[in-house]
């Protein structure tokens, strides 16, 4: 591949990540958490950086440019503003964090890179990460997150090689922070558990919509304004104020306590208001741009329920959501913007067809794991035999840890690092939530469906390979394990081209059961990043109540693991404590 070698980087906030762009083609991408096993690890992605180079057959000496996903000066500007009237603010949350030189310094000192660095404004990086991988020749662009430098939401247009952001909403008015504040109020971790609020919403009634609407004042055009008396994130110590508790007439829910009707109703009301605003702003953007397609990125774009509604009720015919829409994915956009700056040209306009951009492991790697053990494994010479064997187990109601090929980039497991099960089984959701994932009972699971059959079971008019939208289930089959309480699901369509083995497994399962759908959830347990290596997968399998582990073409059933393994891991949780907290630092 001719053209510049560019490394995109995102770090220092949450979900640090790295990608490698060679001649405008995305060669590799991975989140640092997968290597360090620290969930949402924000540290400079030194492991992901090394891995991306190795994947591309590159060394550091081959790189032309590193691209950073943020403008450190603009960020410092906002930090100084947040601390006013103190200049500089010296509270614990600010101490030694007013440091616009940190990205460059750490890139030099910790990664060893001494060449060119391009700094890309955060929302431009988000926008490019969506538009440049959409394959659309002309599209509106919408980015929505908590905050990047000053921007919380931006509106733009991509046309050919050009990408222009023409309007923005500025901090502290932020849809991301609005949603996160309610997340914190409802007793969940911000910057991590917003999707729990989204998942909880269908269980509730929109009884508090009026109250939630008072939190946000809609303004003409693309603008809105938060009523800041209800929020406290400017202090950096908590997300919401006492005023918010008074508004809802209830104290904040204590984490890990029972989820009651009030919590469900506030979640539902918040989701409704978020969707209303997004719809309204999308309509305005459509009027401005008059393009039939929309590209989206930013953490709020991971709200797949809102995306589903935008698709159904919004003005755009087609929406591309960058599958790693949160900060990790901004590394991709930083890299493509840097590519433009270096070459004067946009990267080739190709649709991102898959996100299997992470580490892959060979049959030898898997065999080495068991070489010195008493585990009784079974290896298959070809995929046909393997998938028949696994499909049989799935049809028998077994829960399978499925490790297959290169790891996904982004938050979703899409058949490379997945836990799979029969979606028709009535008790399957509760079993996996309680015993396997060890998480809240209300959390829904997503279906993976053969792409060619998807329309028969879901109200879906297009391929949906990335699980970024929800739609209604319209299946003749009863699919209780993957159908949410409101009849919706977040399907992944699986193509034989991009996921041949996973596709073959679905096909084999269909042959046995008549159902071309599997429950597909990420291969990890609560608080743990998705597994990366065969070793991570094996440990997760042993620790949890999975019935069977499939590592490439090697199969291991629970009854065939040595007793010592289970007893060893029984007393130890997964490594890494994670970095979730009760407040955004914004610093």
């Amino acid at each position: 591949m001719a053209g510049p070698v560019i490394v995109g980087l995102a770090a220092h906030f949450h979900d640090a990540a790295c990608c490698l762009l060679v001649g405008g083609t995305l060669v590799a991408a991975a989140q640092e958490e997968r290597f360090t096993r620290v969930k949402h690890d924000p540290s400079l992605p030194r492991n992901a950086f090394r891995w991306c180079l190795a994947r591309g057959g590159m060394t550091i000496a081959d790189i032309d440019c590193l691209a950073w996903y943020e403008d450190p000066v603009a960020k410092l500007d906002r930090q100084l503003w947040m601390g006013l009237p103190y200049v500089p603010p010296s509270g614990a949350q600010f101490l030694f964090r007013l440091d616009a030189a940190r990205p460059e310094r750490e890139i030099r000192e910790l990664l060893g890179w001494d060449g060119r660095i391009e700094f890309v404004a955060h929302h431009l990086a988000h926008a490019a990460s969506a538009y440049d991988f959409s394959g659309f020749p002309d599209a509106a662009v919408l980015t929505v997150d908590a905050v990047g430098e000053w921007t919380t939401m931006s509106y733009g247009r991509g046309r050919g090689a050009d990408l222009d952001l023409f309007e923005e909403v500025r901090f502290p008015h932020s849809l991301g922070l609005f949603y996160s504040a309610i997340t914190a109020y409802l007793g969940f971790d911000v910057n991590d558990a917003e999707y729990k609020v989204m998942g909880l919403a269908p269980y509730g009634r929109p009884r508090y919509v009026d109250q939630v609407r008072t939190l946000i004042e809609e303004l003409p055009g693309g603008q809105f304004r938060l009523n800041l008396s209800y929020f406290d994130f400017l202090t950096g110590t908590r997300m919401f104020s006492d005023e918010l508790c008074r508004l809802f007439g209830s104290a904040p829910r204590r984490p890990e306590t029972e989820v009651d009707d009030f919590t469900r109703d506030v979640a539902r009301s918040t989701q409704v208001v978020l969707e209303e605003i997004l719809l309204d702003k999308a309509r305005w953007l459509h009027e401005r741009v008059r393009a039939p397609r929309l590209c989206m990125a930013g953490g709020v774009a991971l709200n797949c329920v809102a995306i589903g509604r935008l698709l159904r009720e919004g003005p755009f015919e087609e929406i591309f959501v960058q599958p790693a829409a949160s900060d990790a994915g901004a590394a991709l956009g930083a890299a493509t913007v840097a590519h433009r700056r270096l070459t004067g040209w946009a990267p080739p306009a190709k649709r991102l067809s898959h996100v299997f951009l992470g580490p892959a492991y060979s049959a030898d790697d898997v065999a080495a794991l068991f070489r010195g053990s008493n585990a009784r494994t079974r290896s298959y010479m070809n995929d046909e035999e393997l998938v028949e064997h696994v499909a049989e187990r799935l049809a028998d109601g077994r829960v399978i840890g499925w490790f297959n090929g290169a790891m996904e980039f982004g938050p979703r497991a899409l058949g490379a690092r997945s836990i799979l099960a029969d979606p028709r089984h009535p008790g399957m959701r509760d079993r996996i939530n309680a015993l396997v994932k060890k998480r809240e009972a209300f959390r829904p699971f997503a279906p993976a469906v053969l792409e060619e059959c998807a329309r028969d079971y879901f109200e879906l008019g297009h391929a949906a390979p990335f699980m970024v939208e929800t739609c209604q289930v319209r299946s003749s089959l009863d699919l209780p394990a993957v159908t949410h309480v409101d009849g919706s699901a977040r399907p992944q369509t699986v193509s034989a081209t991009t996921s041949p083995r996973f596709h073959a497994l679905l096909r084999a399962f269909e042959r046995r059961t008549g159902c071309p759908i599997l429950l597909n959830t990420s291969f990890n347990q609560r608080g743990e990043p998705i597994v990366c290596t065969p070793m991570d997968a094996l440990a997760c399998f042993v620790r949890n109540d999975l019935d069977c582990l499939v590592l490439e073409r090697t199969v291991l059933d629970r009854q065939d693991i040595p007793v010592a393994w289970a007893e060893t891991l029984r007393t130890t949780g997964p490594p890494g404590a994670g970095v979730s907290s009760s407040v955004y630092t914004l610093l």
Binding site: L44, R46, T59, W81, Y86, A101, G112
Partner: protein
Amino acid sequence: VNDLLSRSTRQLAETLASDEGALTLARMQRLALAAARVPPAERPDGGLRLGIWDPIARDDGAIEFARAADTSGEWRYWADIDRIPRKIGPRVVLVGESVARAYLFDPAVTLAGMLQQSLGVEVVDLARTDLVAPQLPPLFDALPALEPDAVVLFAGNNWSSVLLELEDLDTLSRAIREGGFTRCRAMFVDTLIRGRARATLEQIADRLENTPLVVVVPEFNLLDWRSEPGVVVPVVADVERWLALAAERRAAEMIAIDDGASPVSQQIAAAQALERNDVAEARQHLEAARDALCGLMVSHSPRCPRVVQDELRAAADRPGVRLVDLPRLFGPLPDRHLFLDYCHLTGEGLQRATAAIADALAPILNVAPGVPAETEPRIAARAHLLAAVHNAHYGQPAEIVGYHARRANQLDPGIRGLMAAVAEMVCRNVQPWLTRAWEVLRTEPQVWRYLGAPEIQRAPRVVDVALADALAEAADLGGLVDQLLVEESASIPLDLLAPRHRAATFREAVGQGIGPQLGFVRVTAPTSRFLVVRPVAQELTGRITLRASGRVSVIVNDVRVAEIPGQADWETCQVRLPLTAGRNVVELRWPPPAAEIEPALERAARRMERALYPEPLAAFGELHGFTAS
């Protein structure tokens, strides 16, 4: 107004966007905090929790202590006892660190148990592995509930780890600017380590009131412990000359350059003093070698430096405090016969320490202590086996690793199967718990406590060949090690920067510094060694990406195969690697570190000002990639 504010913050951000600007902001923040410094808070009420044990009131009003479920993650650091019963007779409380736990013997043998047997008096075991100084005052707060007749404090090995305060950042960064890392180290030791030790002892004295106290001064394995091979010399002026002097073993001149901040020069000086039979001078240099790394902000094994020993001795000047001075008790050159590793005691060491502590307690308790029992050979054998593992993981010479392995086998020939299991475990590339050997280890509680620890389960797989060889030789395991190494030899391409090829110790795997980890390997020794095992003889192509200040030699099995020019920027070179069947050692021999140190010191001082640890060791070169295919 809003526009004005926005314009102003923007202007300010642009002005302060540089590294200099960030430093200015950090200094302003420190200044604001110093000016607003509030007096220290009142002593926090830690409640009555004693380490991992919570008080429970019995029906008769007496207090017992029971292990709290919410501390279960910590249980293995403390005595393995569920309950501390009410006091029914004379009672001694032992507070201390891992030495006081009888590390590697525990739980089969504990120091508290040995003391109890010797004194015939209850000894409550409150020693904790990894106990650090700030944990002591809260522990002493709760001690009155145990109504001790005497307390033994056996700590100080972990007191070199100091939690830095804001004002320390200023002190240390100034020291780096004024006198480099050697000045900084001296300041750290004399001010921070000594100051914190004194403060800790004062807090303990305040809390004890009239309860008699026995202070035990820890000793170090002076003769038989070496710093890790990756720790050579800090960033100092004239490092090239220092290295030239080292080649000629001109210790005094080396020390004049490193100012006591390198253990290497002190070890050479000690060896020379021993050659002259000057034991006193040898001890002086060995103590200096022990203390060289304290305050240097590099990782090192626990130890009790001179300043802490002095403070412990000074604490014994108070009324009601008795002293057990192990350095005086153990003689001028304590070695492997008393120590399993850097500071943990052998059976003989435990016996002598127990006897001395019992002697100090006897007049307080009005008892006549008996002679402490010898540790059972079976238990001592396992302690020595664990010592072999521990020494290997700290990069100790093969000779000492072999000594402990042989000692284990001598004490209990029945340990051979266990040694074979450990050898197999370390030869496998996978995590230990995946091996068949793990199942053998689990049947041995004393061994399991250490090798079954979660840290070991998750530790990077390093080059443990020296350990495997030592075990194989001691237990006569034949060709097991080579057979396993070949079986486990990876398919090409090989990533020789993986710890399994390049790091003999856990610290080598992650770097010797205590600051953030790097995305490349900073080489802090003149030679980098890589173990490459191949099933058959073959010539591979090495692809090396490196930075160096001069020529780098590539050596394969003692034969020079290439010279790489070396330059300040990263460069990638290809070299041929003629490898034999079985084990191969590939070496990179580096030029001396770059001579210019001022930028490195300024960088370090700036890091210190921002509460980040600097990189104090001189870098001979840097490696970003080394593959063989």
